[in-house]
Symmetry: C2
Subunit: 318 residues, 2 copies
């Protein structure tokens, strides 16, 4: 039987699991509440149980699974599969995800940062499947990053590489959640888009909505709201500034954007491309492109599963 892998995307709200073939086909999937308030042991038990449920749903045994990959939302020692801290998961400090799951399931487990897992998924079977160097920006509450260099994840010397949301684009500028001023994340995350709109259009009915979301700002721009349109245009420009700095360092073949902002569509993407085209060195830009993710919300699951596949196949991390 062809080998099959499980990818797990550990989110603060839901655990998403997928049974994935060696060539990256999603054969079966499952989403269960994380129940994060139960603490790390409870969540780890739910992850193991989710793998069993998924196997059952797919009509196979857990023993038929070759290896399991997990994408986690926080800094970690990826070689040891130890999560240092997960800000959105209560009690997650120094949690031995790999060892606990390996013991519970009797399977090889690999653990990756979630943005790295998404980057690896896009690289293997998504927008980047024809390139060997790329980076991803995940545009959500924050701005995450993942880098593929020569076909492998660039994790860095202490697993802190590809923190691309903390590229400083405007020193002394907007305050970022990390404590610095001027990070890309402080301008171009979904949260920052809403904050910038509220500041610039403080007197409008829309900006006063307490539950205003990034999507609402983009929708208002589409409907002709000039303040919203200006915020959207500036967001494309800020993203281009950060992307340009990273292109100047890495000279990659592709930049992949993902997250909720994908709903903004190709007009927004084209605006980003135009700005990068104006800012980046022509010799770098001529071999590069900026594209939306093709895997969307599945990138993390697929990437985690394929990181497990790579480790199972080569004995080396993805």
């Amino acid at each position: 039987m062809a080998k099959r892998y499980v990818g797990i995307d550990l989110g603060g709200t839901n655990l998403k699991l997928g049974l994935v073939s060696a060539d990256g086909e999603m054969m079966e999937s499952l989403s269960v509440p994380t129940e994060a308030q139960g603490g790390p042991d409870h969540v780890l038990a739910r992850m193991a149980d989710g793998v069993r449920q998924l196997a059952k749903k797919a009509g196979i045994k857990v023993d038929d699974i070759a290896a399991v990959g997990v994408g986690v939302p926080g800094p970690l020692d990826s070689a040891a599969g130890l999560v240092y801290i997960a800000p959105n998961l209560p009690g997650w400090v120094n949690v031995p995800v790999r060892d606990t799951l390996q013991k519970a399931l009797g399977k090889t487990v690999v653990v990756e940062n979630d943005a790295n897992a998404a980057a690896y998924g896009e690289f293997r079977v998504g927008a980047g499947r024809n390139v060997s160097s790329m980076f991803i920006l995940t545009l959500g509450t924050g701005v995450g990053g993942g880098i593929i260099q020569d076909g492998r994840l660039l994790r860095g010397a202490s697993d802190t590489g590809a923190e691309l949301g903390h590229t400083i684009i405007q020193y002394g500028g907007r305050l970022c959640g990390c404590g610095n001023r001027g990070c890309l994340e402080a301008y171009a995350s979904a949260t920052a888009v809403v904050a910038r709109f509220r500041e610039q259009a403080a007197v409008s009915d829309l900006s006063r909505q307490p539950d205003l979301e990034c999507k609402d700002v983009f929708d208002a721009a589409d409907d002709g709201n000039k303040a919203a349109a200006r915020i959207v245009a500036e967001t494309a420009e800020y993203l281009a500034v950060g992307i340009t700095s990273i292109i100047h360092a890495l000279n990659p073949e592709l930049v992949v954007l993902t997250g909720g902002m994908m709903g903004a569509g190709d007009v927004f993407l084209d605006a980003i491309r135009r700005h990068v085209g104006a800012l980046a060195f022509p010799s770098a830009w001529k071999v590069c492109d900026v594209r939306w993710s093709t895997l969307g919300g599945d990138a993390g699951i697929l990437g985690a599963a394929l990181a497990a596949e790579a480790f199972d196949r080569t004995g080396q991390r993805a």
Copy 2:
């Protein structure tokens, strides 16, 4: 006989050549005027002649040289050894450096960007000899960059990687030679230090000196000139901002600074370290350091020679 290599650092004013052992010892060296006004063919003939002179000076035959490496100041196709353009060398457009020198000398020739060569030199036998990931910033007329990732040069998809001087730290800020506003180079090159001093201390005797150099500003700061001291302090801060963004992308083990600004010494270096320590993620900074080059002006020669050595030994580029 142990293998020997030649490294050539092609500058606008001088050609610097070194005979280098396989383990990076400089056995003999030579500097001759580039005579750039003579055009590419003349300069290439001088390079070949320089190799012959160097061999003679060392008491060996050209045939005793295993391979030759050249560092060039401009964008190139490093795989083909073709220099697209060298801004400081008249007439240098699409110059086949590798093929021409190989024919003239009957030796394997490799060609690298000069900042990449310097980075490789520091990595092999300089400040970075104990690390596997680092980047260099060359602080001169501009700010050049070179990246070592997993023990190899990160050249990028079109040999335009590591243009670290064009990390945008202040979008919309100072105009850079590249046409963008806010690049690190526009704040922290030797040229930018002088320009910023002239602007901020416009009425002083020192700032009116027509031949004012970066070193004069640093010396004045040492002598208690407050305007100069402020410029020096801000330069450390700007460098730290750019370094932090690059650390957040690459999470390297080391940052090496080189160029004329090395004369500023350890007080300046410590100021940079303090700022990076305040800006960079603790998990990235705890495994990293910022140090001065240990090879200084020889880094490019040694790096070019050792790039030739690596190619000779492995059949793959450094």
